[in-house]
Symmetry: C2
Subunit: 409 residues, 2 copies
DNA sequence: AGTATTTACGAACGCTCGCTATCTATACTG
DNA sequence: CAGTATAGATAGCGAGCGTTCGTAAATACT
């Protein structure tokens, strides 16, 4: 248990590997229950081995036994079926935004046990910690899971996150948030491994999990702020910690990263606030337009896209400009990463096809392999879903005694 | 041996794991020989187990035994020491360029056994195949390795490579090269697993291996053409197959990807040919300048950097312009990837600090985490070295019966 | 030079584990 | 009510690892 090369050893290690193999097979087909015969086939192990492993896992509470329930209608003695006992190790995901806190509790199989949101008009850092405590407790109550049972938790925060210290940099809207050790706070509530990551990263993880399979995913979160997460073959790419910060890409007219402004050039150019501003200006310049009718005084980002969808040329021009700026900023990364798909989520994604098609047209001119361009299927819950996902991955990586023999050198 | 989940099984699988563990430990400390006691410590296995594995590996030819040689000067009975027998599975790397073919042969421990280069003034596709055959045979002779012994081979070609078909797209300078199945040709000579990859990718792999450790590396090959390879924690990132094609990034003045031109906008703007052209124009405009003196009629890329190093303001302006264009094109990718280091290789890298500093100054304005900017330590041989490296990785992945339990879903 | 010490190799024993083969249990079919 | 097909439980066998002991080979000390 000391060295790091490989877990090789005696026969007990072998049994641990085989038990893990069985557990992994059950996990892969979750939430469908599996017959023992199927486990034999999938693991390649002998039936007595599988049976023994199943017994052990039932004993330890990782699996639960199903009755020969329902219409299984086949010849012979009905097989007992087992599935993951989700309650064995529930996980918690936490999404902390400047105006909203969301907590989700999920069981091992990925089923949501609870989801609690709370919105507010902007908290101080201290108030926010209190809200987090409340919402976590509320979610635990709703899920009927005692705090001690939580096996792992992941928190999402905007800004650039330092995994090790638990601190966050470049956060707007919440004064004093950078000084808070969020990991420590959550660990005080839960007493389990707690991880912290960027919200865009976690949203990307959720989207990648929903899409399934391998390949490279570039998941853009586009709202007032602009960020992206990169998932390569199911693994998050973090770089040195600040990967995916597309908000700071320079534009044609604005190429300065201002240390005093937590927003970057691209955010200033095409963030939702900027889109609304462009729309207001266009409405002022064209008072007769549909855009001006729709928006009035309080013209919103949604109005711009709505008018564009109604083929208002003024609004379409704004969308074209936004799409062009965005595509030109993103194209180099698409060329370098060559992703399988680019998925756009966040508030601006509600614009739908109007924006997506405009971006696709631009990107087609600027890239070689044109990735699939999609809207995120997960709406607001992407971040919290990704947080639970990462917590689940953590639990599995910890529980499955993988003899990680990965080596690069 | 059928299913893909895990290699779990009986005790014979366990022994294979342990033998692999021993072999892996030897590999990690190559080329230093190891005593059995050290292997016991590193693997965590019992001495008889290690001894048996070593016997087996000696028998199979993977290890070689060293005499109790030289000044080991310690108490007690001298230990026998074993090391990798490189000749057990030598590998071959092949770098095919339009004007040069390079073949390297390496043993298992990564020691170069042979390196043969041949240059020519531009071959047809058919001639090139003949040259490849000749150079491979020459290298095999020099390395004193029969063709049958080669355990894996990797070929590098410029252009965008399709791993599966062995075809290459977007290759300039060699007419008909896209129609050639290079993999098939090499397999006809060697009868072993043959892989094909982009030259920039393989150079990146070599540079990453030389730097060692983990992290994200963006390795730019900058010559007449412009490409990059991305290595993340020792693994190459390919995307859907065309990752790293930075030559096609749009510039401020040129944002069209022309299907008839195999070069991209950035290559047209800052490729070595473009730099020379800028230099010639600047020399014409400023006939009194040091640049005009140095270059004369046949002003070369090297002349531009030489004059700039001598503080000629005209040349420095050219370098500044090149650096600015390059940095602006690369900055979005640096933001998105957030690499540990950016390494520049290829012909233009010979410019040295003059160019590097100018790029660093520009990048500092455009990125958040500023990666280390370095020149490639491996000069011309980076691609061949990377090809051998990948072949070695292939051999190890094949021979070490790793029960890859990596799972993402 | 002889003895003690240190280090490493080698062989025998016992333990655990998984695989093969056989037997029993259960439910549907005719 | 017997026959059959499927699944679960049990016994014996073989393989591999770890522990323990004995032996070999070199150095240090007297």
């Amino acid at each position: 248990m000391s060295k790091g090369t490989i877990g090789g050893g005696g026969t007990t290690m072998l049994r641990r590997i085989n038990v893990a193999s069985v557990l992994d097979a059950v996990r892969r087909s979750a939430p469908a229950p599996l017959r023992v015969a199927e486990l034999v086939e999938r693991t390649g192990l002998a039936r007595p081995t599988v049976a023994q492993a199943v017994d052990e896992l039932l004993e330890a509470g990782w699996l639960q036994q199903h009755g020969p329930d329902s219409a299984d209608r086949s010849l012979g003695r009905p097989a007992i079926r087992v599935s993951l006992r989700g309650r064995a190790a529930p996980v918690l995901g936490l999404d902390v935004g400047p105006h909203r806190v969301t907590v989700g509790v999920s069981d091992l199989a990925g089923r949501k046990l609870a989801l609690v949101r709370r919105s507010g008009p902007g908290w101080t850092a201290q108030e926010l910690l209190g809200v987090i405590t409340d919402v976590i407790n509320e979610a635990l109550t709703e899920a009927e899971v005692p705090a001690e049972d939580i096996a792992a938790a992941v928190a999402a925060s905007p800004g650039i996150v330092d995994e090790h210290t638990g601190r966050v940099q470049l956060v707007p809207s919440v004064p004093g948030w950078s000084a808070v050790d969020l990991i420590k706070h959550v660990r005080g509530l839960l007493d389990c491994p707690v991880m912290l990551d960027n919200d865009a990263n976690l949203a990307a993880l959720a989207i990648a999990a929903a899409r399934g399979g391998t390949g490279t995913l570039l998941a853009v979160q586009w709202g007032e702020r602009l960020g992206a997460g990169i998932v390569i073959d199911g693994r998050l790419h973090r770089g040195t910690g600040a990967a995916g910060e597309i908000g700071f890409i320079a534009t044609d007219t604005d190429d300065v990263i201002n240390p005093d402004d937590s927003r970057g050039p691209l955010e200033r150019a095409v963030g939702s606030e900027a889109i609304a501003a462009l729309g207001r200006q266009a409405a002022l310049d064209n008072p007769q337009s549909r855009l001006a009718e729709l928006g009035g005084e309080q013209l919103d980002t949604a109005d711009v896209f709505a008018a564009a969808a109604e083929r208002d040329p003024v609004a379409q021009a704004v969308v074209q400009q936004v799409a062009r700026t965005f595509a030109r900023a993103l194209a180099p990364s698409v060329l370098v990463l060559d992703p399988t798909a680019v998925v756009i989520g966040g508030g601006v994604a509600r614009a739908g096809a109007v924006l997506l098609d405009a971006i696709a047209d631009q990107l087609r001119l600027l890239t070689l392999n044109h990735p699939r361009l999609e809207l995120s299927a997960l709406a607001e819950d992407a971040v919290v879903t990704g947080a639970m996902r990462m917590a689940l991955d953590e639990v599995w990586q910890r529980k499955l005694p993988t003899p990680a023999m990965t080596s690069t050198t």
